[in-house]
């Protein structure tokens, strides 16, 4: 890391080059922190899956899936999930080469970004061509819209985050200096992809 002397507006810079900020500390901290965050994030989706099974079991007013609701087309849902899985896989591969070959990592990250953006695009398309309207009621419609919206919102944020990794996957960039953070991010995307797969199976087949 660069060690040019810096002044922090009158405060001597005691901190930036101190040993507690070294990259191996960051590496271990990132992986544990990401696992914990993934667990917390999984709980968010668990609540939606609980809502699915609970409302389906209750079937209040016979309105779990009313006559205006049909299962959305599986191939669109399938494309969305496949793109998400591809995105996650590409990020993982990119993270692996972040330290040694930043340009390869960059390429993988760009491809992942493409996959992620396409995924969101298809999701928006699907929302516009759902064949049912959450306002018409029905528990399934609500859970579908809710779960998929939250998932898409997280994918969008993840894509912005991926953008920062793309920008920093240069020979002097931060991702190259701290590949552990890219690996942790890859794990996060794998978790999102996992949620996407489970959501696909639950929402389109049950």
């Amino acid at each position: 890391m660069s060690q040019q002397s810096q002044q922090s507006r009158g405060l001597p810079n005691l901190v930036a080059s101190a040993p507690e900020w070294s990259t191996d500390v960051d590496a271990r901290v990132s992986s544990v922190g990401m696992w914990i965050f993934m667990g917390a994030n999984a709980m968010l989706f668990v609540a939606f899956f609980f809502a699915f099974f609970y409302l389906r079991a209750l079937n209040n007013a016979d309105n779990w899936m009313n006559i205006w609701t049909v299962h959305p087309r599986r191939y669109i849902g399938g494309i969305i999930v496949l793109l998400l899985v591809a995105c996650a896989g590409l990020v993982v591969m990119g993270a692996r080469s972040a330290a040694k070959a930043p340009s390869t990592a960059r390429m993988f990250f760009w491809l992942a970004l493409l996959a992620g953006v396409l995924c969101c695009g298809f999701q928006v398309y699907e929302f516009k061509h759902l064949g049912f309207d959450p306002q018409m009621g029905g528990g399934y419609a609500s859970v579908f819209v809710g779960l998929k919206s939250v998932l898409m919102a997280e994918i969008v944020v993840a894509m912005i985050w991926l953008g920062t990794h793309i920008a920093q996957a240069t020979p002097i960039g931060d991702t190259t200096a701290r590949p552990a953070s890219a690996a942790a991010f890859g794990n996060f995307l794998v978790m999102l992809a996992g949620v996407g797969v489970v959501a696909y199976l639950v929402l389109y087949f049950i």
Binding site: A18, P19, E20, W21, S22, D24, V25, R28, V29, F53, Y54, A57, L58, N59
Partner: protein, 291 residues
């Protein structure tokens, strides 16, 4: 057989259970003959007590009037299964009677079985398979899958109508249950590869998955199994209430053993940390030069 609690006056006759328990008891006693008393001190006495308690639990679960009530009430049937999986199985795992039972067999028989199993090259694939299957993660998955599969309505109803399948179900619960607890309690001569904190996590995950199944049973709005076909139940409860009680049984009382195990492992892990600290060794692996 009268319906209702009068049924408690009747004892079932389950030859499979009786033979199994007696065989185990005989092997244990015969295998223990000739060993000097108190060879393993008080630990040995505790293990023996655990063994007999485990066998007694199996008898209470399957060869007592509870079995009669279980044919009418789902929640009593649940108690039976819980007795097998979270009382008898851990007790038998604590007892770790395997070497003693093995010793009951004649030496020539033991050698002719053990030598090829351990040494013969042609059976290397068997050893490799065992190696893979006996991994903690595999055992966890198998035990969990076993639990959930038998609760699928078609299979569960099959156990209610076919006695042999029912015995198979109980045997699998017991065997996989013992295999599960063997990952947490070292079975001489086998040692579980899990560290103390890992064992805590292992049992915590098992508890959480049982909550999942319990939640399904508790929150369901229709009864799942052919208990619903019975015309009436002791206490006049509905089939749905019966199912909710069963779910609650699995949820809370079913979690007691796991909770105790979890607390024991946490306690033990803290003690290891203490010992590590006293020896000046950093017991926690991966501790970082953490500024």
């Amino acid at each position: 057989m009268p319906p209702g609690l009068g049924v408690l006056a009747y004892w079932p006759f389950e030859p499979v259970v009786l033979i199994g328990v007696e065989l185990a008891a005989v092997l244990y006693v015969v295998g223990g003959m000739g060993l000097s008393r108190g060879r393993h001190g008080s630990a040995g006495r505790w293990r023996a007590a655990a063994f007999w308690l485990g066998l007694l639990t199996i008898l209470v679960a399957l060869q007592s009037p509870i079995e009669m009530l279980a044919r009418q009430l789902f929640w009593v049937h649940m108690i039976q299964h819980l007795l097998l999986m979270v009382v008898a199985a851990p007790l038998l795992a604590l007892a770790s009677p395997w070497t003693q039972m093995w010793r009951a067999l004649p030496l020539r028989l033991r050698r002719s079985v053990a030598r090829p199993l351990f040494l013969q090259p042609r059976l290397a694939w068997l050893r490799a398979l065992y190696h893979q299957v006996s991994r903690p993660s595999v055992i966890w998955v198998l035990a969990t899958a076993n639990l959930w599969l038998w609760h699928l309505p078609p299979l569960y109803d099959l156990t209610l109508s076919n006695h042999l399948v029912h015995h198979l179900e109980h045997t699998l619960f017991l065997v996989l249950g013992i295999a599960f607890w063997a990952q947490l309690i070292d079975q001489r001569p086998f040692r579980s590869p899990l560290g103390t904190l890992e064992r805590a996590g292992y049992v915590f995950l098992a508890m959480v998955q049982s909550w999942g199944l319990a939640g399904v049973l508790s929150f369901a709005t229709v009864p799942f199994y052919s208990y619903a076909l019975l015309p009436s139940r002791p206490g006049g409860i509905s089939a749905l209430t019966d199912q909710q009680l069963a779910g609650g049984m699995m949820w809370v009382p079913g979690a007691i053993t796991y909770s105790i195990a979890l607390i024991v492992f946490l306690f033990r892990w803290l003690a290891e940390e203490d010992l590590g600290g006293q020896l000046g060794v950093r017991a926690e692996k991966g501790q970082v030069h953490g500024g």
